[in-house]
Subunit: 355 residues, 2 copies
């Protein structure tokens, strides 16, 4: 993706080569997947030159697989990293992703390449990934479409479930049946547990009250992320009202997400919309999504400094969480173009189920 | 775990405080879990002083949960990291784990704490974690015991499975029923796929031939890791012989893992044992295990420089992988004391199942 643009940045910034490194000592760098399509479990080193074809060095165990799926034609087997870097990366100026490279790895690289000066390319990488290409959008749309389908099946089968883990088992098993993986550990939180946005799905019996279902899938390396909250049992009028308030806030936030608007303003407007309940909205309104389920370049939250632009893909996920009582969250993955459109489209109408 | 020993190291090395940081910009640092028992999904900052009680700063969303489960009594809510670090970490010499801290985070920390000199404590941390305490061993033993039970159930139910994903669904669902999570994505590889040690479990029908089952669970943050290879269909004499060769190599490697022996020697002896088949053994013999399924301090492989010591816990997992034909791997999590004892104990006898 956008390799050409990145090479233009390297030329402009006078960076001879950029080294993206996956090793035990670094935070996994999804920019490797972005440029090469390689999501490897072992070592991987991608070198992008300003004026030559890029190359990727992979471990022997994953060499055949990599040759098949890599966007980068030049795939080389790892033999001796030190010698290979001396051979392939002996450049005057080298770019590294300072967001991912550990100090230890940085020290090792400066020893291997003592004559190179090293600069940070994290901002350039984040800027590229902020705006999705047509191909990326297509993949995210497909991930979202699949997510909607799994959610529909899940609701259709809901009466069979007894434990929170039954719901999770169903969703993850359906995902695998499609040959896919989930984009993060599925959250199923019923009753009072729904009041914890980070609840870890337990073997607890599904409780009466709101039940938060938060999950996504990865399709061709791209993530979806959606949350629906349904009601187990017979809801009171007040419970219905609370749900509809969160829903109205979510729809309103989608409407107010326009090109040029500051992300912090969208977050602020949502809180204002929730009125006296805003103190129960205890997390940010949304996050960038793509290869990573939480991408780092921008967020919809009070400390964010970005403005919305065309081709941004992010989540909108307001919630109300009242401790020892209940939790409600409604989340879509959305795409911003002329206007903001949800890519996850399962119904947001109030659903009550008697178990 | 071993907080006292670590404080003694800080005193000896004249390091006033060690900051362990979990944030978006770092590789997750399992040393936080090691010292505090906190495995959080959000931000976490653990400060261990040489001469004061440690403290841990956690995000608001996980504050209540953290107070309940933290080994560190002093749990503080994150408000403003900059101000909180100035208040709590304004020391002359600060230790950081250079294996995990990214360059970006390092730069940020040096800006927040301009008067502190920063030193690497990664080696000290790795050394501590190399040798397990009684409490750690107890947890790993329990993880292994649970793994054996799940594996037994899996084999008992094997005739019901049709797809590789059916086996995976069963194992992961059984894990969740116990309120636990798996220590890594379960690998089920049948037929020719078994020749790839890093096969990603697919929705493919279970093929005749060897079927590799590689999984583990986490119990109280500690991992198990085991592999058994069973046979689907009727094996030939040659197939049985190949299995028994790997099994004999594995048992032999357990026997040759003795205190004082170099890890690279154990790896070498195993390869020698495999004779002409050693060229098909395409990965290392084993890895340290604990809070992380692959812990970094030592490996049993040709480039390793360690010697075996009492209280080490690691895997022994020889395999033979012949492309387009089959793969066999047999793996136990083992503990070294007077002698080396497998903690995973499910039978390693040849099992053939007709589907």
């Amino acid at each position: 993706m956008r390799l050409k643009e990145f090479k233009e940045i390297l030329i402009k910034e006078n960076i001879d080569a950029c080294i993206l490194l996956k090793s035990n000592l670094n935070k996994p760098d999804s920019n490797i997947i972005y440029f090469s399509n390689l999501d490897l479990s072992d070592f991987c080193c991608l070198i992008i030159y300003k004026d030559r074809e890029p190359l990727v060095i992979v471990a022997k165990l994953e060499f055949d697989k990599s040759k098949k799926s890599s966007y980068i034609k030049n795939v080389i087997m790892l033999t001796n990293l030190l010698e290979q870097l001396k051979k392939y990366a002996d450049c005057r100026t080298i770019g590294l992703n300072f967001d991912c490279i550990s100090i230890k790895e940085y020290q090792r690289l400066t020893e291997i390449l003592p004559n190179s000066s090293i600069v940070d390319v994290s901002k350039h990488l984040n800027d590229l990934r902020k705006l999705k290409t047509d191909k990326e959008i297509k993949k995210i749309k497909e991930a979202c479409r699949i997510t909607d389908g799994i959610l529909e099946k899940c609701i259709d089968n809901f009466k069979k479930f007894r434990m929170e883990t039954d719901v999770l088992d169903f969703i993850e098993s359906q995902t695998r049946k499609l040959g896919l993986v989930n984009s993060f550990p599925t959250i199923i939180a019923s009753g009072r547990d729904a009041a914890f946005p980070h609840h870890i799905t337990s073997k607890k019996r599904l409780e009466r009250g709101f039940c938060v279902i938060d999950f996504g899938v990865k399709f061709n390396n791209y993530c979806s992320d959606t949350t629906r909250t349904l009601f187990i049992g017979k809801p009171s009028e007040n419970e219905k009202e609370m749900y509809n308030l969160v829903l109205a806030a979510q729809i309103n936030s989608i409407k107010s997400s326009k090109v040029g608007v500051k992300t912090l303003e969208v977050d602020k407007a949502c809180r204002k919309f929730l009125g006296k309940y805003q103190k129960y909205f205890i997390h940010g309104l949304g996050h960038q999504i793509g290869i990573d389920v939480h991408e780092g370049a921008f967020r919809l939250s009070k400390n964010s400094k970005d403005s919305l632009q065309k081709r941004m893909v992010f989540t909108i996920e307001p919630g109300i969480y009242i401790k020892n009582k209940f939790g409600i969250r409604i989340e879509d993955t959305v795409l911003l173009n002329e206007k903001c459109t949800p890519l996850t489209r399962f119904t947001k109408e109030f659903i009550a189920i008697n178990l």
